[in-house]
Amino acid sequence: MLRLEARPQPSRAWTYASPLLAIAITVLLGVLLFMALGKDPVRGLQMFFWEPIKTKYALGELMVKATPLLLIALGLAVCFRSNVWNIGAEGQFIIGAVCAGGVALLADKESGRWMWLAVVAAGMLGGMAWAGLTAVLRDRFNASEILVSLMLVYVADMVLSYLVYGPWKDPAGFNFPQSKTFEAATQIPRLMSGSRVSVGLLLALAAAAALWVFLFRTRAGFAQQVGGLAPAAARYAGFSSRRALWTALLVSGAAAGLAGALEVAGPIGQLTPYVPAGYGFAAIIVAFVGRLHPAGMVLSAILMSMFYIGGELAQSRLGLPKSITGVFQGLLLFCLLACDTLVTYRLRLRKA
C-alpha cells in the first residue's frame, strides 16, 4: 500500500515541480470536463492556452488582466507568509476603487495631467484603511482576521452599491447605476498605443522586485516570515508580532487598493456595481500557485489571466458558461495543495 514518509528536508526539486504537476492535472481534468460537455477538448485547450497569446493585442489584454491579479497576490504573499489570513482582498480592492473613483470624480476639464497620481494614491490609501479595520479588530480584540476581512467584503460591496445607486449616480446616465465616466486627466497613462496595457504593469513588476528584496534581503522581511513559520521563535527573537500583523495587512490593503484604482481609472473608466470581478479571490490562488514567491507569482498571474480570457472566449465561441473559469481556478488550487504534499513527504510503496 502507499505510505507517506516525512522527508528530512523539504525537497527543492518538488518545490518547483509541484505547481507544474498541478497545472498538468488541472488541464487533464479540464479536457475530461470538455468531453463530458460534448465540446471538442482540443478547441477548448486552444481557447485557454493559445488564443490569449496569439497576437500582440492578445498579449496586451493578457497583461491588462494579469496586472491586478499580480498586485493583489504580491500583497497577499506578505500576509500568508506571516500567517495572517487576509481573505478580504476583494473588499480592499473595492474600497480602493471607490476612493480612487471619488477623487477622479473631483476632476474636471481643467484638471492637470498628473491627476491620475492622486487617483492612484487615493486607491492605495482606501485599500489600506479598509485592511486597517481588520488589523485593528485583530490587534485590539483578537477577532479572527479570516472572518472579519470576509465580512468586510460584503460590507464593501454594499458601500459601492449605495454610492452608484445613490449620491454618485450619473445624472446624465439614463438612471443606470453608474458614475460619470472619468475625465481623461484621471486615466492611467497607456504604455503604448494600440494596446490597453497601462503604466500599471510597470508598477506591478516593480512591486514584484521590491517584494523579492524585502522578503529575501532585509531583516524586516525575515522577521515577518519567522512570525509566520514559528511564532514562538519570533517572540524569542524579539520580533514584534503586532508590527508583523499591521505590516502584512497594510501592505496587502495598499496593493489591493492600487489594483482597484488601476482597474477603475483604466479599463473601466467609471464606477459601476460590476467593478468587483473576483480578483481578490483569484489572487489567493495566484499567490499559492506562485509559491508565495515574486517570480512564481508573475508566472501564475499570467496563467490565471489565461484562465479568465479563456473562459470569456469559451463562452463566446463554444457556448460554455463563463463560470467555467471559477471551476478551473478552484480545481487548480486543490491540485496544487495535493501536489504540495510531495514537497514535504515522499511516496513509498510498502508491503502490508
Binding site: 507517506l4 516525512a6 489570513w85 481573505i87 479588530l137 480584540f141 483578537n142 477577532a143 479572527s144 479570516i146 472572518l147 472579519v148 470576509l150 465580512m151 468586510l152 460584503y154 460590507v155 454594499m158 458601500v159 452599491s161 449605495y162 445607486y165 445613490g166 479571490f281 489567493i284 490562488i285 499559492f288 458558461p321 463560470s323 467555467i324 473559469t325 471559477g326 471551476v327 478551473f328 481556478q329 478552484g330 480545481l331 488550487l333 486543490f334 495543495l337 495535493a338 504540495d340 504534499t341 514535504t344 513527504y345
Partner: protein, 305 residues
C-alpha cells in the same frame, strides 16, 4: 402584534439555515478540524438539492442530495487535510472558491426553474393557538429538526463515550493516538458528518427557505456559521441561540424596510455582516475564555509519528 408573531416565525426559519450549518461545523471543530469551505460546500449542496427536487419533485430526495453533496465534498477536504496534511485554512479556501464556481456552472440551466408549490405545515392543536401558533408552530419540520439535532449533539458530546472520544481527539490528538484511538478516521468521520449537516443547510436554503436557484445565493451564511461556532464557544445550545439571533437580525432588515424606515437599503443589507463583526470582536476579547473552551488542536495538523 400579528407582525411580531410573523417576525418571530421568520426568525426561526432564517435561523435554521445558520443553525444546521453551524452545528455541522461544530462537530468538525470539536475534532480539531476547521473547514473554511462551508460557503462553497453549502452552495454545491443547494444546487444539488434544487436539481433533485426539480427532477423528482421530492423534497426528501432534495435534502438527501444536499447532504450527499456536502458529505462528498467534505470527504475530499478531509482526505486532503487529514491524510495528505495540507494546510486546513488554504484547503478550506480552495473548497469555497471551487464550490462557488462549480455551483454556478452546474446551476446555469436552473436559474429560471420553479419548484412545485411548497407545502405548509402546522402542528395539530398548537398551530391554532392565536399569536403563538403562527409564531412557533407552523414551521417546516426541519426547523424543529435543527432543535432536535442540537439536543442530540448535547447528549452525544457530553453524555456518551463516543462523544468523549471525539472531544479527546480535538483536545489532544497525540494523546488519543498514544492510547490507540484511530485519530485520523475519527477526524474524517467528524468532517463528513459536519459536511452532511452543512449540506442539509444548503439544501434547506434552496428548497424551502427561498425556493429558487441564484448564483451565490448562500450570500455569506457559510462564513457567518463559522463565526457562530466561535462566538458560541463551541456549545450546541449557544450555537442554536446565536443562529436565531442572527436570523433575527436578517429579518429585522426586512421589517425595517417594510416599516418605511429611512435608511438606504444597502445599509440594512449589510446589517448581518456588520453584526457578525461586532459580536466576533466582543467575544474574542477574552483570551482566557477562548482557551478554556476551544478544542486545543483546532486548525493544527496531526501526523502519527
Amino acid at each position: 402584534m400579528e407582525a411580531y408573531a410573523l417576525l418571530l416565525a421568520a426568525t426561526l426559519n432564517a435561523g435554521t439555515v445558520l443553525a444546521l450549518a453551524a452545528l455541522g461545523l461544530l462537530i468538525n471543530e470539536k475534532a480539531g478540524v476547521v473547514n473554511l469551505g462551508a460557503e462553497g460546500l453549502m452552495l454545491c449542496a443547494a444546487i444539488a438539492g434544487f436539481v433533485a427536487v426539480v427532477h423528482t419533485g421530492s423534497d426528501l430526495l432534495g435534502f438527501a442530495a444536499g447532504m450527499g453533496a456536502g458529505a462528498l465534498l467534505a470527504a475530499l477536504f478531509g482526505v486532503l487535510v487529514i491524510w495528505l496534511g495540507t494546510n486546513q485554512y488554504a484547503t478550506g479556501l480552495a473548497l469555497s472558491l471551487f464550490g462557488v464556481g462549480f455551483s454556478a456552472f452546474v446551476g446555469i440551466k436552473y436559474v429560471q426553474e420553479k419548484l412545485p408549490p411548497r407545502p405548509q405545515f402546522s402542528w395539530p392543536v398548537l398551530g391554532d393557538i392565536p399569536l403563538l401558533g403562527p409564531a412557533l408552530f407552523k414551521q417546516h419540520p426541519l426547523v424543529y429538526g435543527a432543535m432536535l439535532i442540537a439536543a442530540a449533539l448535547i447528549w452525544f458530546l457530553y453524555k456518551s463515550r463516543t462523544g468523549l472520544v471525539l472531544r479527546a481527539v480535538g483536545e489532544s490528538p497525540a494523546s488519543a493516538h498514544a492510547l490507540g484511538y484511530p485519530v485520523r478516521l475519527i477526524r474524517l468521520a467528524a468532517v463528513v458528518a459536519g459536511g452532511a449537516l452543512c449540506g442539509l443547510a444548503g439544501a434547506y436554503l434552496s428548497v424551502i427557505y427561498t425556493p429558487l436557484w441564484v448564483e451565490g445565493m448562500v450570500a455569506g451564511k457559510g462564513w457567518i456559521a463559522l463565526a457562530l461556532t466561535t462566538f458560541a464557544t463551541w456549545r450546541p445550545a449557544r450555537v442554536l441561540l446565536g443562529a436565531y439571533l442572527f436570523g433575527g437580525v436578517t429579518m429585522l432588515q426586512f421589517h425595517l424596510q417594510g416599516a418605511g424606515v429611512d435608511v438606504p437599503s444597502q445599509m440594512l443589507t449589510a446589517l448581518p455582516y456588520v453584526a457578525t463583526i461586532v459580536v466576533l470582536a466582543l467575544i474574542s476579547r477574552n483570551p482566557t475564555w477562548i482557551r478554556v473552551n476551544m478544542p486545543a488542536s483546532l486548525g493544527k495538523p496531526f501526523h502519527p509519528g
